[in-house]
C-alpha cells in the first residue's frame, strides 16, 4: 500500500490585493524525505510554508499535513510538527533553559528537563543554558532556534532559511545536525533556502519557485543534467533569469 504523503499541496493559491503570491501550485512530499524549496525573493516560498504551517489561509486550494487539512484541522497535527524561521524570535530576556521549558510544555513533551539536556548536548548548548537568549551570538541563537524546533521530536520539520546569517563553519555544523536528526528520526523536512550548497547537501528533491509558480521539480542530479550545469546555483540563476527559455529557444 502506498504511504500517504507527509505534505500534500493541491492547486494552492494566495492572492494579496489582487496580486498572486502563490499561483496554483501542487506537490506532494513523501514521509522521511528532505525537500528543498528554492526561489528568489518574492518567489512565494515563505508564503507557501506559512500556508503549510496553518499560519496563513489560502485564497483557494488545499494543504494537507500529516493527514490534516490546514489550517482547519491544524490542532490535530501541530504537536507533531515544528518550524524555524528568521521571521520569529524567542523572548530575549528568558534564558535558553526557560524558553525551551516553556516550548516543551506547550508541545506536551513528557520529560522536558531530559529533552532539554539531550538537545543541549547535541547542539552544544549545555554551557549556555542559563544565559539570556538575547545575549547570544547569531550562531548561538540559530542553535537555540533549532533546539526549539526539535523540542517535540517532530515528524515534520519546516525550515525557512535555517542557516541565514551564519558563518560557513557554523552553517555546515547546523546542516550536519539537521541531516542526522532526519535520518535517525525518519522525519520529513521541507527547507526553504537561498543557499544552494545547503540544498545540494541536504535535499533529495528540489522544487524551484518563481513568481508564485513551480518552475521545476526534480532531484538535484536530474536538474543539473537537464540544465547542463555543474551546480544548483547555476541552475537557480538560469531559472531566475529565464535562461532556460532562452536556451530552449536557441536549441
Amino acid at each position: 500500500m502506498p504511504t500517504a504523503p507527509a505534505i500534500k499541496v493541491e492547486r494552492l493559491v494566495k492572492i494579496y490585493r489582487q496580486m498572486p503570491a502563490v499561483d496554483g501550485i501542487s506537490f506532494a512530499i513523501a514521509p522521511g524525505s528532505i525537500t528543498g524549496l528554492l526561489g528568489g525573493n518574492g518567489a512565494g516560498k515563505t508564503t507557501t510554508i506559512a500556508m503549510i504551517m496553518g499560519l496563513l489561509m489560502p485564497t483557494s486550494g488545499t494543504v494537507t499535513v500529516l493527514g490534516a487539512e490546514m489550517p482547519r484541522q491544524r490542532y490535530r497535527v501541530l504537536q507533531r510538527m515544528n518550524f524555524e524561521s528568521p521571521y520569529v524570535d524567542m523572548p530575549m530576556r528568558l534564558t535558553i533553559r526557560q524558553n525551551l521549558t516553556v516550548f516543551g510544555m506547550l508541545y506536551g513533551v513528557p520529560d522536558v528537563r531530559g529533552r532539554i539536556a539531550e538537545l543541549a548536548e547535541t547542539l552544544d548548548l549545555t554551557d549556555l543554558l542559563d544565559r539570556p537568549t538575547g545575549k547570544l551570538s547569531a550562531g548561538q541563537k540559530t542553535r537555540v532556534a533549532l533546539a526549539k524546533s526539535l523540542i517535540n521530536s517532530p515528524e515534520l520539520l519546516l525550515l525557512d532559511e535555517p542557516t541565514a546569517s551564519l558563518d560557513p563553519d557554523t552553517a555546515d555544523w547546523v546542516r550536519a545536525r539537521l541531516e542526522r536528526y532526519c535520518r535517525e528520526r525518519g522525519a520529513t523536512m521541507l527547507l526553504a533556502s537561498h543557499n544552494m550548497t545547503e540544498v545540494e547537501r541536504l535535499c533529495a528533491r528540489v522544487i524551484i519557485m518563481k513568481r508564485g509558480r513551480i518552475e521545476d521539480d526534480d532531484t538535484p542530479g536530474a536538474l543539473l543534467a537537464r540544465y547542463s550545469r555543474r551546480t544548483l546555483e547555476e541552475v537557480f540563476l538560469d531559472v531566475a533569469r529565464g535562461r532556460d527559455e532562452a536556451r530552449e529557444a536557441a536549441q
Partner: protein, 273 residues
C-alpha cells in the same frame, strides 16, 4: 461536536501553565517591569488621597462621604491596570516577535486568553495590593473594609478589563503594532461615561443610558451607595454581571474573528507596524 471544534477548544492546563511561567520568568528577570507595576498607582493614590483630604476639610458632603475619591481611584485602577496587565502581557509576544512561535504551537486561543487573564490578576496584585495597604497607612482608607462588596466590585471590574483586553489583543494581531496605542488608551473612553468620580445623575439625561451600558458604572455607583448610604446594592452588581457576560462574549468573538482575519491577510507573519 465536530472533531475540528473539539480540537480547537480542547483545553490543556499544562499549556496555560507554560504561558504563565513564560510571563513569570519575564517579570522576574526585569526590575523595571516590576517597578512599573507599582509606581504609577502609587503616585495616583498619593495625589488623589491629598485631594480627598482637602475636600473633606472644606466640604460638608465629602466629609460625610469619606473615601469616595480615593476609593474610586483604587477601583478605577483595578479596571485600568487589569486591562493593561492583560494587554502588556500580550504585547510582550509582539515586541519579542514570539507570536508566530505561539500561533504555530499547539497553544489554543482560549488557553492563551486564560494565561493572559491570570497574568493580568498577577500584575494587578503586584501593583494594587501594596498601594491599597499604603492608602490605609497614609489616608486611613481601608479598601478591604468594603468586605464582600469589594469581591463583587473586583470581579465586575476585572471581567470588563479582560473583555476589553481580549478585543484589543485581536486588534493588534490583525493590524500589527500600529494598533498598540489602543492598549494604552482605550480604557480612558470608559472614564467619563463610567462615572468614576461622580454620580450618573451628574451626566445630562440623554447621556445617562450610555453610562448604564457599561458594567463599571454599576460598580462606581455601588461604591458610592456603600460609602455614602452604607447600602450594598446587589441589584446593581447583578445587572453588571449580565452586561459583563455580553461584553466578554463580544471580546472573545471579536478576538477570534480578528485572528481569523489575521490568518487570511498574513498579519501573523508581519508583526511589525
Amino acid at each position: 461536536m465536530s472533531t475540528r471544534t473539539e480540537n480547537a477548544i480542547a483545553f490543556s492546563p499544562r499549556r496555560v501553565a507554560a504561558m504563565i511561567l513564560r510571563y513569570w520568568y519575564l517579570l522576574r528577570s526585569s526590575w523595571p517591569r516590576l517597578l512599573d507595576l507599582i509606581y504609577w498607582p502609587l503616585v495616583q493614590m498619593i495625589t488623589w488621597g491629598f485631594i480627598q483630604v482637602y475636600v473633606m476639610q472644606n466640604a460638608g458632603f465629602f466629609a460625610r462621604a469619606g473615601g469616595t475619591l480615593i476609593g474610586a481611584l483604587l477601583l478605577w485602577d483595578i479596571l485600568f491596570r487589569g486591562q493593561l496587565g492583560f494587554s502588556i502581557a500580550f504585547l510582550e509576544e509582539m515586541w519579542s516577535r514570539n507570536i508566530g512561535n505561539l500561533m504555530m504551537s499547539p497553544l489554543r486561543p482560549f488557553e492563551f486568553i486564560a494565561a493572559l487573564m491570570v497574568m493580568s490578576v498577577v500584575r494587578l496584585a503586584v501593583g494594587a495590593v501594596p498601594v491599597s495597604l499604603l492608602a490605609i497607612a497614609f489616608f486611613g482608607f481601608n479598601l478591604y473594609g468594603l468586605g464582600l462588596a469589594l469581591v463583587a466590585f473586583f470581579f465586575t471590574l476585572i471581567v470588563t478589563s479582560w473583555a476589553v483586553g481580549i478585543f484589543v489583543s485581536g486588534l493588534v494581531l490583525r493590524n500589527g503594532l500600529g494598533a498598540e496605542n489602543f492598549a494604552w488608551s482605550i480604557m480612558f473612553v470608559f472614564m467619563p461615561l463610567a462615572c468614576v468620580y461622580y454620580p450618573v445623575a451628574t451626566l445630562p439625561a440623554w447621556l445617562q443610558p450610555a453610562a448604564w451600558i457599561l458594567p463599571p458604572t454599576y460598580v462606581f455607583e455601588g461604591m458610592r451607595a456603600l460609602l455614602i448610604d452604607h447600602t450594598f446594592r446587589a441589584d446593581l452588581m447583578l445587572e453588571a454581571l449580565g452586561l459583563n457576560l455580553v461584553l466578554f462574549a463580544v471580546g472573545v468573538f471579536g478576538f477570534l474573528a480578528l485572528l481569523k482575519s489575521a490568518r487570511r491577510h498574513g498579519s501573523l507573519m508581519q508583526t511589525g507596524e
